[in-house]
Amino acid sequence: MTARQDAAPPVIETRGLAKRYRRVTALTDCTITVPEGRISALIGANGAGKTTLLRMLAGLARPSDGDVTVLGGTPRQDPAFLAGIGFLAQEIPLYRRLSAGDHIAVGAHLNPRWDAASVRERLSSLNIPLDQAVGTLSGGQRAQVALSLTLAKRPRLLLLDEPVAALDPLARRQFLATLAEAVAAGGLTVVLSSHLVADIERVCDHLILLAAGRVQLCGDIDTVLADHQVLVGPRKDTTAIQKAHTLVQATHTARQSTLLIRVGGPVIDPAWEAADVGFEELVLAYLSQPGPGPGAPPAIAHLTTVGEDQ
């Protein structure tokens, strides 16, 4: 892969990670790497395994198979490991009868590094009362409280499961700005799952795309975009293209074909007109892909097949 060279060891590294529940397989053969300092977008359709992956990274769920290394160790019930990660679950769990101020005090009792001042400041700037039971706050306000608490832990890795889903557009922008600032200050890596492609494009520089319980894409967004091209040409057989490249998506009209390919080498056939692919277009193409059947290799494996005959 043509990823940037990173001196520091990756913050997240998994190999062949899998999670099976009694009847369903939530995640299979998940191999990803997230270098330090990235804001990584975890994208996938509902049920693609995003939450499962985040929970395994946070040590809340045990993998059924495979290896996972987070911050240089296996996720485990250990204060030193837990101090390094910040996790926010999708349902934004807080103690409903406790106030935001109570939660700040809880965090101070349970964490070695705790930035109570930053939470107070952030919440008062958002006009969120500190002395009111969080159960009486609006969904957006609760999300802000939970996010602020997660940040106050001063983690090295933030794992956020759809953190902006409950926020209005303005609060969303504020939150993402806070996130970007925190990462810019150094020492923080973020993985956030989201459906909001526009938001992701604005703040994220890394992408993990899950579909059908497998990793379809993992890498820096620039690199991933550079690896793909849109080909437009007369409608014809795509067998030759598929030999050299990985066909992600093909749309045909009566006379014309549009192909989204993962580039396996130069496109030689002059009949095809090549263009760069947009982020949203790419994401949607992968998400609308039919799930690979059992035994089908993940898309990543095709990177090595560089075809000669066009």
């Binding site: 005090a105 964490n111 832990k153």
Partner: protein
């Protein structure tokens, strides 16, 4: 962690403390009245040497109070339902366990603090209620001599604290396994009630092997003394073998219909022919005949002196079960996914 536990449960704790205080005031006031009533009655009967009949002539307390005190039987179960059941289940149900388990503390520490305080509170509360009831009941116990009776035995002494520990542990474990509060509460009530009934009816009489004494029909003197616990009464034949498990009083008339009349628990068909002939001349003659032939009434009982041994054994059983349940909870919480 203790701060969080206190902050989460302080309302419950104050409510429980208020209820306990009200109960204490009620029992202290009425208990003092009963104690002085009993003392003056006892002094009066001692002067006239009629204390043997005191239980028949003196009635202590009001029926409502006795009902209330008997209802403290439910205290352990209520503690299990309100403190035990939701303790882990509600956190799993609402997802707050994910908040707690991603702070910089281990699940073990989280669980230790929560379970530790819950058990401590249960033992303290169960113990306090029982201490009050025990003190309040002391004149009643002295009067009626029925310490082993269900409703007395299991609301006094140390067993209520053992029940409370068990009920809360049961609630916690059911919640950790089922991960939902309401089903955990239902299981807690069901299992607790079933176990209490089974132990009371089938296990408790056998904690220590019961004693049996034989005595002549109509003889009152050699009975055991104090608050002894009658396991069974019966009749023993000349060979020393029990004739029937029928209680003595049930030498009933309805037996006529079944062609088996019994005198003092001895079926007519089992009697020596000499005595059988006397049956229709009146029971007194038949009974003295039976006595002459070596028939004796028997009473199988647990002596009053074993009261605390029984209390300790029963408490031990429930505390051991509570410990086993907590061990299961620890395994489940540490091993299973959040």
């Amino acid at each position: 962690m203790t701060w969080l536990v206190w902050r989460q449960h302080r309302h419950q704790a104050s409510l429980a403390a208020a209820a306990l205080a009200a109960f204490a005031v009620l029992l202290l006031v009425t208990g003092r009245q009963m104690a002085s009533q009993y003392q003056s009655a006892h002094a009066a009967c001692a002067a006239s040497h009629t204390c043997g009949n005191l239980a028949n002539s003196l009635s202590l307390g009001s029926p409502v109070l006795f009902l209330l005190v008997t209802l403290t039987l439910l205290v352990p179960c209520l503690l299990g339902v309100f403190w035990g059941g939701p303790l882990v289940a509600r956190e799993l149900e609402t997802g707050t366990s994910q908040f707690a388990w991603t702070q910089s503390i281990t699940r073990r520490r989280w669980l230790t603090a929560k379970v530790g305080w819950a058990l401590l509170a249960a033992a303290a509360w169960g113990g306090a209620v029982s201490a009050l009831v025990t003190w309040w009941s002391s004149p009643v116990n002295a009067l009626n001599q029925q310490s082993f009776t269900p409703g007395q035995f299991d609301t006094q002494g140390i067993v209520p604290a053992g029940y409370a520990l068990f009920a809360v542990a049961l609630g916690i474990t059911a919640g950790a396994l089922l991960r939902r509060t309401l089903p955990a509460l239902a299981i807690t009530v069901g299992v607790f009630a079933a176990l209490r009934i089974v132990i009371t009816a089938y296990v408790r009489p056998h904690y220590m092997s019961a004693r049996t004494i034989l005595y002549k029909f109509g003889d009152l003197r050699p009975r055991p003394t104090g608050s002894y616990w009658v396991i069974s009464r019966g009749v023993v034949g000349p060979g020393g073998h029990a004739l029937s498990g029928q209680p003595q009083g049930v030498s009933d008339v309805s037996g006529v219909a079944r062609q088996s009349i019994a005198i003092n628990g001895v079926p007519v068909s089992n009697m020596p022919s000499a005595c059988r002939a006397l049956v229709f001349q009146g029971p007194i003659k038949a009974i003295s005949c039976l006595t002459a032939h070596g028939y004796r009434a028997s009473i199988t009982y647990q002596p009053a002196s074993r009261y605390w041994a029984f209390q300790s054994i029963e408490t031990g059983i429930f505390v051991a079960l509570a410990a086993a349940l907590i061990a299961v909870t620890v395994l489940v919480v540490l091993r299973r996914d959040a």
